[in-house]
């Protein structure tokens, strides 16, 4: 279902067809073009007062051509409004980091990198956060099995045959 509001109108005026505003179950989100990414986030924060970045995460769709959905969940204290910004990127494609816009994106992007292998350009220190450094594979991808592990890492670092 399409989402219409003054905010959407302003953004569409600025970015044209790259922004597709939708609403589902009363929650608004925007499907934006990958090329708009740092700019639209910057404008959402600076001009539309979405000063609180709730979450940065990703979803993996292995069957799609552009495999990953990257999401920013934003909140505006002034308007008491939430909005999700979504974009699609392909495997191996980089995406600009939002750390300079919201410092909170730092760890959240690191987690997305850790779990999905999404590369954020301009991130001050993009390394694994929950999994140990040197781990191979990104567990939240759909092709990573639930009992899969980096057995090489386990054998070297823990000195045991298997973690299971």
């Amino acid at each position: 279902m399409a989402w219409e509001s003054a905010l959407v109108a302003r953004l569409k005026g600025q970015f044209g067809s790259g922004v597709e505003a939708l609403t589902y179950l009363g929650q608004n989100y925007m499907q934006v073009d990958r090329s708009l990414i740092p700019n639209i986030l910057q404008i959402l924060r600076d001009e539309e007062q979405f000063d609180y970045c709730v979450d940065v995460t990703a979803v993996h769709y292995p069957k799609r051509e552009r495999q990953f959905d990257v999401l920013w969940i934003l909140y505006s204290f002034a308007a008491n409004e939430r909005v999700r910004v979504k974009t699609q990127i392909a495997e191996g494609e980089h995406i600009p980091s939002a750390v300079s816009i919201w410092p909170t994106a730092n760890w959240l992007e690191r987690e997305a990198y850790d779990m999905f292998g999404i590369q954020f350009d301009g991130h001050p220190e993009l390394k694994r956060i929950l999994l140990p450094d040197g781990w191979k594979g990104h567990p939240l991808r759909k092709d990573y099995g639930i009992i899969e592990q980096d057995s090489e890492w386990v054998q070297i670092n823990l000195g045991i045959e298997s973690g299971q």
């Binding site: 589902y24 979450d55 993996h60 410092p103 694994r128």
Partner: protein, 384 residues
């Protein structure tokens, strides 16, 4: 302590630059086995004497892959797993998840179930704050409040136990409402508890609020401004102590919270002492909510009509609640099958912990302990 250098790259630690008499900088590894890190948090501190020049958190020791597990369980089966994240506020976790799935299914829990949910969630908030107070005070060296708070938290756990059989990881709610009707004497128990615990909160305050050492240890320690809080996405009592009057229970009411009259306590300075005061006030507000809810609890069904096999339509939803630690959000993607396609948990502890570096710079080692305590993190939720 020797292996700490591997992950302190950004602390510009260069051994070769050190001269014979350069005793200024010291790398101190705190944790993962350390009494004051509330679990298995590892903090690498760069110190000048006792002054903190910078720190880095190393987390993930408790990572269990909750989000991955969710993708291989049905919606109902995943419900108990969320209790294991923030295990001291398991009821809040369950509430957030159940409401998110209900939204996705486009159903609503009946009013009586909403009231029971509010009562249990607020009791849980109280228990979480009590646990926080006890451990935080212990970190700062006051040993006694720990035992006082545990005595009173026990009463809450007893109510949980009678209600659903479990004390900690309660799994109290089901998608669509509550599994259990309140037990006989539930109302009496809760009313008795409210009357019992109100003077106890005064007792905690008597021990600490005006204690000079406590005030000196917490005032102007770990100060964070409202602007920084928002920039770093810090939520919950930490945000409110910085002066932002924002509580999801008020801003975007869920369950039955819209029906109750309560205040959102705020602080001004955003220091450890204000966070302490805000949480103490929150405990009193929780009691107010519980009192109103138990007085006005309606009769009726406790379960909405939900089919045994849940197949939410294709789509995605983000739902967040005010957990004791801050904004706890669930982002669920459904592909129309019985299993969620993706469940993303937005953990308040994880995001709040990120501000530790900012809050500790220029403070002393002892303050790091105080700040870790005041952030009220639960490592089970940070690492998931």
């Amino acid at each position: 302590m020797t292996d700490s250098t591997s992950s302190v790259s950004h602390l510009d630690l260069d051994e070769s630059k050190k001269t014979f008499l350069d005793a200024n900088e010291l790398i101190l590894n705190m944790g993962p086995q350390h009494p004051a890190t509330h679990g298995v948090l590892r903090v690498i501190l760069r110190l000048d004497g006792e002054k903190v020049l910078g720190l880095e958190c190393v987390i993930g020791y408790l990572h269990r892959g909750v989000e991955k597990i969710a993708e291989h369980r049905t919606y109902t089966m995943f419900n108990p797993y969320v209790d294991r994240m923030d295990y001291v506020a398991a009821v809040s976790n369950g509430l957030g998840y159940c409401e998110a799935v209900e939204k996705l299914l486009n159903i609503e829990a009946p009013p009586r179930a909403d009231y029971i949910r509010v009562i249990l969630t607020e009791l849980n908030r109280l228990a979480s704050h009590q646990l926080w107070l006890g451990t935080h005070a212990l970190d700062i060296g006051a040993m006694t409040p720990l035992f006082y708070t545990f005595r009173d938290r026990e009463e809450i756990l007893k109510i949980f136990e009678r209600y659903c059989g479990a004390r900690l990881t309660t799994h109290a709610f089901r998608i669509g409402g509550c599994q259990y009707e309140t037990y006989e004497g539930f109302e009496k128990d809760v009313k008795k508890f409210v009357a019992f615990v109100a003077p106890k909160i005064d007792e905690y305050e008597e021990l600490l609020t005006t204690n000079r050492i406590w005030v000196e240890r917490t005032k102007n320690v770990g100060t964070i401004s409202a602007k920084d809080c928002i920039a770093y996405g810090v939520t919950g009592p930490v945000l409110r102590a910085s002066g932002v009057k924002w509580d999801i229970r008020k801003a975007q009411p869920y369950a039955a919270y819209g029906k109750f009259d309560f205040e959102v306590p705020t602080g001004q300075n955003g220091d450890t002492y204000d966070r302490y005061l805000v949480r103490m006030a929150e405990m009193r507000q929780s009691l107010r909510i519980i009192q109103q809810a138990i007085d006005g609890i309606p009769e009726g069904p406790i379960m909405a009509k939900v089919s045994k096999v849940m197949k939410p339509p294709v789509g995605e939803i983000y739902h967040s609640i005010e957990a004791p630690k801050g904004e706890l959000g669930y982002f669920i993607v459904s592909d129309g099958s019985t299993q969620p396609y993706r469940v993303r948990v937005r953990p308040p502890s994880f995001v709040n912990l990120q501000a530790l570096d900012l809050m500790c710079r220029g403070q002393l080692v002892a303050d790091v302990i105080a700040v870790i305590g005041t952030l009220d993190i639960v490592l089970g939720e940070v690492d998931r």
